[in-house]
């Protein structure tokens, strides 16, 4: 029995993985950034399938709207033609491919031997609002207030650090 959601999942994950492969192999960096946008969008659709709508919206706004655009800016600032004549991969790339395949095989093996890997999603309780729960959890002092505030301090530090590092000293 094939469910429609399974078809959606297979199509979306195939497109996402294909786009991710293009990201790591394309010569032209601007094209790689655009493939990255497609891969991030596929992940956003998977978040929708996981009933995490807030994260799908945040993925589109933060990753595609900010991070990918920042990448494109950096590509344009660092290369006039965004294309290098030489090879795009370094000389040890076969070792890198072997390591990546080993990691993938190991994780797949672990998933296969784990007895809860085939579990199906339990129905959400009646009247359960994940977004409201998340908001309350993030600002409750006895739950996740401290990690949340530390994350915001990290963002501020990264902001100041980025400005200082990229500052053009005369």
């Amino acid at each position: 029995m094939i469910y429609p959601l399974q078809v959606v999942f297979i199509l979306v994950s195939a497109v996402t993985l294909g786009a991710a492969l293009m990201v790591v192999t394309t010569r032209n960096m601007v094209r790689a950034a655009l493939w990255l946008v497609l891969a991030l969008f596929g992940v956003a659709i998977l978040f929708v399938l996981l009933e995490a709508g807030f994260f799908a919206v945040a993925q589109v706004i933060i990753y595609i709207g900010a991070i990918a655009i920042l990448m494109i800016f950096a590509v344009m600032l660092t290369r006039r033609i965004a294309q290098d004549p030489g090879p795009q991969l370094n000389s040890t790339w076969p070792i890198a491919a072997v390591i990546a395949l080993l990691v993938f095989g190991l994780i797949v093996f672990l998933v296969q031997v784990w007895d809860r890997a085939a579990s199906l999603p339990p129905p959400l309780p009646q009247g359960f609002a994940p977004l409201q729960e998340l908001g309350v959890a993030l600002v409750s002092a006895d739950r996740y207030l401290i990690p949340f505030e530390i994350a915001s301090v990290l963002l501020l530090a990264a902001l100041i650090g980025a400005i200082v590092v990229a500052w053009e000293r005369k």
Binding site: S13, L50, T78, R79, I95, P122, F148, A162, V165
Partner: protein, 102 residues
């Protein structure tokens, strides 16, 4: 109904592709793109575990929020470093940035 293992295997594949990109690309911006792919795979895993194993416990979602914040700061600092290095050495190829090598 999609089994949990599908999400885990998808995330493993995405993580491995990102890992390959980080280890093999020469361009520093492309290395950052690989890191973004890996962080996305982690987020898929976190939200899948939240939805399938503990939907009442918000820890998975909170962790995903923090991964978002860390990814944003990582890419901001990383691209600032790339631009700074480009100004000094006129290159963003990772194998040409070897001032600290010897």
């Amino acid at each position: 109904m999609i089994p949990l293992s599908w999400y885990l295997i998808f995330a493993a594949a995405l993580f491995s592709i990102g890992l390959f990109g980080v280890l093999s690309r020469k361009n520093a911006v492309a290395i950052l793109m690989g890191v973004e792919l890996m962080l996305n795979a982690v987020n898929v895993n976190l939200l899948a575990f939240w939805r399938y194993l503990a939907p009442e416990n918000m820890a998975g979602q909170v962790f995903a929020v923090i991964v978002f914040a860390v990814a944003a700061s990582e890419v901001a600092v990383g691209l600032a470093l790339v631009i700074s290095v480009y100004r000094r050495r006129q290159s963003v190829q990772a194998d040409e940035i070897n001032l600290l090598k010897y």
